[in-house]
């Protein structure tokens, strides 16, 4: 039984446009070196508006998400500082930050603003330079962030009163879900290790077909280059060392730079706002469930996901068997297994077998993270959630080319996670004529 009962929206809200930059290391490429927050956010925002056929002056409000504006951009008011870049000068906005869950809460914020009746058309975008920080007092230069410096700021995710001092909460993020899954489902060490490796293999297979992903070489190709007979043999070799109690190096996010955006609109006003220029079906946001357990709490990810999933099924009336495609923010790769099982997308205690059989790759019958997830598409922290939504929307339109899933998805669930620890889970469905 969920601890919060979620009410239905006051009116229907639909996704009408999406935009996303490649996920990349901007400073490593002469063509992208020097890109700024306004340019990245602005590109994703304008792409979303163009996708919908909406003029920026017809958008009422925008939400801005960034996980680390102070450390990454030297910004205290990041929504204002990009305000002139995409044709919305003078329009009101607000910044929000839920670390790695920001891009998922980005949709929730925009939908609430329209569902309440206050606005008819709202943009929500996120930008992050996860791989480089702004050089202070320079208009566009950025410098790479060494891991030690990155870890200094991620420590700020955890409660200063107790969590940091008692030491366990912030360290359990890496392996708690794997330990819980293995113990409660009776897996052997070998089976759990296989499952973690196969999630990385499947993610990379998906990313290999995704032009916006940061890592596109499959583990089959990498294994062959290193003289191994198979991807799984390579994954269990010293080339992919254990960096956690259970987790291997391949199961950790690839931090990088990126931006993404979504445009939502009151469903009954789409025709009026797009002037008939929208070339695709709208996708209705049926409901959003949210949960949060601070990292001192045992099994924080699992408990908060259970709460959010129950809320969203309860408010939408959708059944788990109706979910055609699933996304989970998996900066720790175990996330996509535990979230998919809690959502009922994979059968409880059996999901690991689906993963090891490759059934969760884009060409399987239970596709998960068709863009490659955080370990292959990349993790531009705030922007990742909206990048997942971008991919999901394109899968639902059927225009993903080589990585298009077999059965055109009509209903999707996406589960955001992050910020020690927020959970935001939503169900979206293609609106039929």
């Amino acid at each position: 039984m969920s601890i919060t009962k979620v009410g239905k929206y006051m009116r229907s809200v639909s996704i009408i446009g999406v935009g996303c930059t490649p996920f990349m290391y901007t400073v490593d490429n002469p063509e992208t070196d020097g890109l700024t927050e306004g340019e990245m956010f602005g590109y994703a925002a304008l792409q979303a508006m163009e996708d919908a056929g909406v003029n920026p002056r017809d958008v009422d409000f925008y939400f801005h998400g960034q996980a680390s504006p102070l450390a990454g951009s030297n910004y205290l008011t990041p929504n204002i500082q990009i305000g002139n870049w995409f044709g919305m000068k003078g329009k009101a906005s607000i910044h929000h930050s839920e670390a790695c869950c920001t891009g998922y809460y980005a949709l929730e914020q925009a939908v609430n603003a329209v569902a309440s009746g206050k606005y008819n058309c709202v943009l929500s975008g996120c930008v992050e330079f996860g791989d480089c920080n702004a050089v202070p007092n320079h208009p566009y230069k950025r410098e790479k962030v060494p891991m030690e410096k990155f870890l200094q700021t991620t420590a700020w995710l955890y409660d200063r009163n107790y969590c940091r001092s008692m030491m366990a909460g912030q360290e359990l993020i890496y392996d708690d879900a794997a330990e819980y899954y293995k113990r409660t489902n009776g897996l052997t060490d070998e089976e759990m290790d296989d499952t973690l490796c196969w999630m990385s293999i499947n993610n990379r297979k998906n990313a290999s077909k995704c032009e916006l992903a940061i890592e596109r070489k499959t583990y089959d190709e990498i294994a062959k280059e290193h003289g191994f007979n198979s991807a799984i043999e390579y994954m269990k070799s010293p080339f992919n060392p254990r960096t956690g109690d259970f987790l291997r190096m391949s199961g950790i996010e690839i931090k990088c730079d990126g931006a993404a955006a979504v445009l939502v609109c009151a469903t009954d006003m789409i025709e009026e706002l797009t002037h008939g220029k929208m070339q695709h079906k709208p996708i209705e946001v049926l409901g959003v469930g949210c949960g949060a357990y601070e990292a001192t709490n045992p099994h924080f990810e699992i408990r908060a996901t259970e709460e959010a999933v129950e809320q969203v099924y309860d408010v939408t009336g959708v059944k788990p068997e109706e979910i055609d495609i699933f996304y989970a923010n998996d900066f720790i790769i175990t996330s996509h297994l535990v979230a998919a099982e809690i959502a009922g997308y994979l059968p409880k205690g059996e999901g690991w077998k689906y993963i090891c059989e490759g059934r969760t790759a884009y060409d399987g019958d239970k596709p998960i993270n068709t863009n490659g997830g955080r370990t292959s598409f990349g993790h531009a922290h705030a922007a990742s959630g909206l990048a997942d939504l971008y991919e999901c929307v394109h899968q639902m339109r059927g225009d993903c080319g080589e990585r298009q899933v077999k059965k055109l998805p009509k209903t999707a669930m996406l589960r955001g996670y992050g910020g020690a620890q927020n959970i935001c889970t939503y169900i979206i469905r293609t609106k039929e004529d």
Partner: protein, 139 residues
């Protein structure tokens, strides 16, 4: 108004300096908040009072520290593990338990939950709470 503006965190750490591990007990429903906070997370009451915990607890999961999940300053704790702790008084939270290594984990994982006892541990500039594996748990 029942709620008081109170430096709960400071009081908690000051009590550790005196050798006492304190929580806040709800006078309405009896639940213990540990570590202590302003309101009861079981019933929502602000009618709380300070109470010393017994230190008796159980550990329900075991995760060993690794490259990603350790820091140089944790070295004096070794061997240790992270896990889900339940206090005798009822609070549940993530904690550190000393006395568990890889070999002992193999035995203990089939015996969960296992008995542990709270201890006060000196960190750089303040004391905190960790737990020790009770004797006989690996037998």
């Amino acid at each position: 108004m029942a709620v008081k503006l109170e430096a709960v965190t400071r009081t908690f750490y000051e009590n550790l300096e005196k050798g006492k591990i304190m929580g806040k007990k709800c006078k309405d429903c009896g639940a213990m908040e540990f570590p202590p906070r302003l309101a009861c997370n079981t019933c929502g009451s602000t009618n709380m009072e300070w109470a010393e915990i017994s230190g008796k607890a159980t550990m329900h999961s075991i995760v060993l520290p690794a490259q990603l999940s350790s820091k140089p300053e944790y070295a004096p704790l070794k061997p240790f593990a992270y896990g889900e702790i339940h206090l005798e008084e009822g609070s549940q939270f993530n904690g550190v338990v000393r006395g568990i290594n890889k070999k002992k984990r193999r035995v203990l994982v089939d015996k969960l939950p296992i008995n542990v006892t709270a201890a006060i541990y000196q960190r750089d500039g303040y004391k905190t709470v960790v737990f020790d594996l009770d004797e006989g748990q690996c037998d």
